[in-house]
Symmetry: C2
Subunit: 399 residues, 2 copies
Amino acid sequence: MDDTAPSRLITGIGELTTQDPELGTSHAAALVIEGDRIAWIGPASSAPAADASLDVHGRAVLPGWVDSHTHLVFAGDRSAEFAERMAGRPYAAGGIMTTVAATRAASEAELRAGARRLRAEAAAGGTTTIEAKTGYGLDVETEARLARVGAEVADVVTFLGAHLVPPGLDRREYLDLVTGPMLAAVAPHVHFVDVFCEAGAFDVDESREVLLAGRAAGLALTVHGNQLGESGGVRLAVELGAASVDHVNHLSAADVDALAGSGTVATILPGADLSTREALAPARLLADAGVALAIASNCNPGTSYTTSMQFCVATAVLQHRLSLEEALAAATTGGARALGLDRGPDAVGTLRVGGPADLQLLDAPSVAHIPYRPGVPLTIATWRRGVLERSPRLAPPLE
Amino acid sequence: MDDTAPSRLITGIGELTTQDPELGTSHAAALVIEGDRIAWIGPASSAPAADASLDVHGRAVLPGWVDSHTHLVFAGDRSAEFAERMAGRPYAAGGIMTTVAATRAASEAELRAGARRLRAEAAAGGTTTIEAKTGYGLDVETEARLARVGAEVADVVTFLGAHLVPPGLDRREYLDLVTGPMLAAVAPHVHFVDVFCEAGAFDVDESREVLLAGRAAGLALTVHGNQLGESGGVRLAVELGAASVDHVNHLSAADVDALAGSGTVATILPGADLSTREALAPARLLADAGVALAIASNCNPGTSYTTSMQFCVATAVLQHRLSLEEALAAATTGGARALGLDRGPDAVGTLRVGGPADLQLLDAPSVAHIPYRPGVPLTIATWRRGVLERSPRLAPPLE
């Protein structure tokens, strides 16, 4: 904590959801921010004096969202492909190349501006920690550019050179590139290695090779698995002790058992489930089996062009049939665990004294309003590391 | 048009969706507002001079939403009932009495403040015309209060004394009350009469009696029908030439045929479909049969506590499988038709020279972004009768 930073008291909190196992949820609460940390949490009636004070008049406060799966850095738009899908054409991984072409053609400044705009939009919706993947470059130069921009804009960066074999390239040569020069070029900027383990992308053996190369370069592991079929991605993620396996739409009973006995988080991506019209990930089944869950936006221009974790949480309750408590945990502590940010003094996803001041204020009395009021943008303020963030949307330069 | 009002040019419109059959959709467009009317629409390159000018830099402009079905005037919160439903308890009409009790206990000022807050929230999301129903009073005094507040806050008011027979009252006596003194008390303030024609509420014969009494008092007709089963509400609505029948989750082939051959609009309520976990209204089937559709929020504290027409339109595309064009029409001109506001110089739901200046600006290049970017609050400005409205949310009094 920074003893010289002015302290800020947030009081009149009608419902304070901490996601901390000891603090739980309290009412008529207050908290104090000093610098980038939470300095005090307790009843509003015994709040200490502070340099500045904000009465939120009974509104709800909760941790900022931890969005553990995005493809935030890209150029171009795939609304035409989206419209075709809505008219009945099924999703195929090949659409990724549309974004690859636009991304390769974009300057680093354009990519940075686009990713910053989306990050600001996410912050306006309550997100305080965000992951970003490469994977729209698929050549050494562009993947390195995406990794650099990702490291500037996001909290955690994932190398997804193994998103697809670019058409016309030899599979073996491309795998050698991904696991060799491309990995070397991105490694200074990234924390995770990822692979799209799916028919039409990479099979289990190819995926294992990519993941092990990343591990040898010091990266943690995550997998895109079982989105379009029982790809074997889940079993591979568990076999290698990956931090998470994401999508998980198509699971055998053995996949569920493997996850339940593992330390691997299953990440559901409700925006993609709706936009691809894929079978919904069986989140209720996974939760009942005791699998650790995360919910993420999967923000990307092909299959889930949303930054709204509120929308994803509401969908997970309304349609995936998670309880509110399960969905909130998945979008905070679950995401933190998927990113390896769930331990130590800088752990995110909970509100606790000494922890990062990453929190959001709702224009609602309770977190129950998140699924109860779908589509209504409830987050009216987000503090990240103690700094109040607002969207550009909040003061548009109109008239 | 008011010749003395300052003219305002909105230019740099990347995509202008007018919903007018002749004007269609154009690009690089501009429009001029004078007073409460649209005075000019055309290419940005030939826009006339105006007293003030706003360049929207390629963003999309479309008509404001016409939300033809809400229960905007109420007190209390049913988030606990919502949570129970999410945990598996099915929706039953009886939950309405929870809101009736809270509403009867509220003052007119409290009801007005709550409804105004929701109307402002709806306006921030692009809604420029809104209907509001009574139906949480169910006694003469409270129904009259709801009608008065509705007339202050909404554009169209509907009498829904026949929402439910309050427990403990004799059905016959309650019907006499609704069609007699209650109707007389609300009639000066309302435009439509409505009935919840459903098992647990009113049967077809009772519903017919209510509707005919309303018609005799000079009101237009609308019906809550076929939400929880094949209630006969659809057939009754068609029989009586009602302007709309709303919910329409459970339809026989004969119901669809009856609608297709009628002038009655079928109104789908996507928020309620998700929140009640009822079978989705078969909107695709209805559209293919040539039935006129509306999409409305059904904003109410029990089954659809959202004002977000963007959410409803996105859900109608993603899940009800309407095309974007069908969904946009249903949420603008379809709503106007359901409310009888689709004709004459004051017709709403389209943008045309001489028509009301009811429009919204998206922070997106295209209306396709509405379903493509679910959960992201895209509307950044709404003009209603030429007046720029912003949500209180846009400048929260924080720090």
